[in-house]
């Protein structure tokens, strides 16, 4: 499983501050002009897309969720069970 975090139209120094403040260890990609958000049809944030090994979006969450909750753990586990 790989996780890509994308920040749309944000400044690098603000992202660094955010990474330090919330102890975010994963890299954050900067979507400078919003083109990635446009391509994904993102109209509200946060928005999370789950893409399978065929490159298909298999699920999306368009709100803030607790990623440590049982529901989201179950969702990720279910998606990971997908055969090769």
């Amino acid at each position: 499983m790989a996780l890509l975090k994308v920040a749309t139209k944000e400044k690098e120094q603000d992202l660094k501050k955010y990474q330090n403040e919330y102890k975010v260890s994963s890299p954050i990609l900067i979507d400078e002009n919003g083109s990635a958000a446009n391509a994904y049809g993102v109209w509200n944030r946060p928005a999370t897309f789950f893409i399978n090994r065929e490159g298909k979006i298999v699920a999306r969450v368009l709100k803030e969720v607790d990623w440590t909750s049982n529901n989201t753990k179950n969702l990720i586990q279910y998606l990971l069970k997908e055969k090769k």
Partner: protein, 186 residues
Amino acid sequence: MNRVNLKGVLSLIFILIVGFLGTRCATPKEGVKTYPKDYVHPLTEINLEKVFAENRGLRVLEENATKVNDFYRGGVQEKEEGEILLKEGKWEEARKHLEKSNRFLRVVVKYIPEDEAHRDIYEGQTVIFLPNLLMADNDLKLVTVYKNMKNENKAAEVKAEGQYYLAESLKSVKTEWASQIKKGFE
């Protein structure tokens, strides 16, 4: 990253999670520009090509559309397809896409009935949001389609519908594009 490379990366992993971050790290944005009530947005600012560009990318399938923005995006994508076929003179195929575009957009106006030149979707990020005007434009093109298909009754029907949606659009936003559509219906 091109498609081939992406496929290579994806074959190494089970699932890729792409998360667009929320407001926690947000840089304060400039407010959305406001316009006087009677301001006419010029074609250089609001036009079909810009609407298409904002809605390209992931294709919306009718069965997967659940949010208003999915329906708007689907409506625009079907319209773009229909416009290409129209230019090629493929009337029946163009008709199908333009009608499908209108089906998507009718859902949009059920929930958000007003057009907006620049709709603020989050923290100063705006999109051109003109579902009524897009339907009027679709109907104007459908008039041509039905006339070429020798179906005068349907041509008259879509003309009336288009004029209705044009009037709805003009209630909330004035654009040079709408004036062009109005002339087209005359």
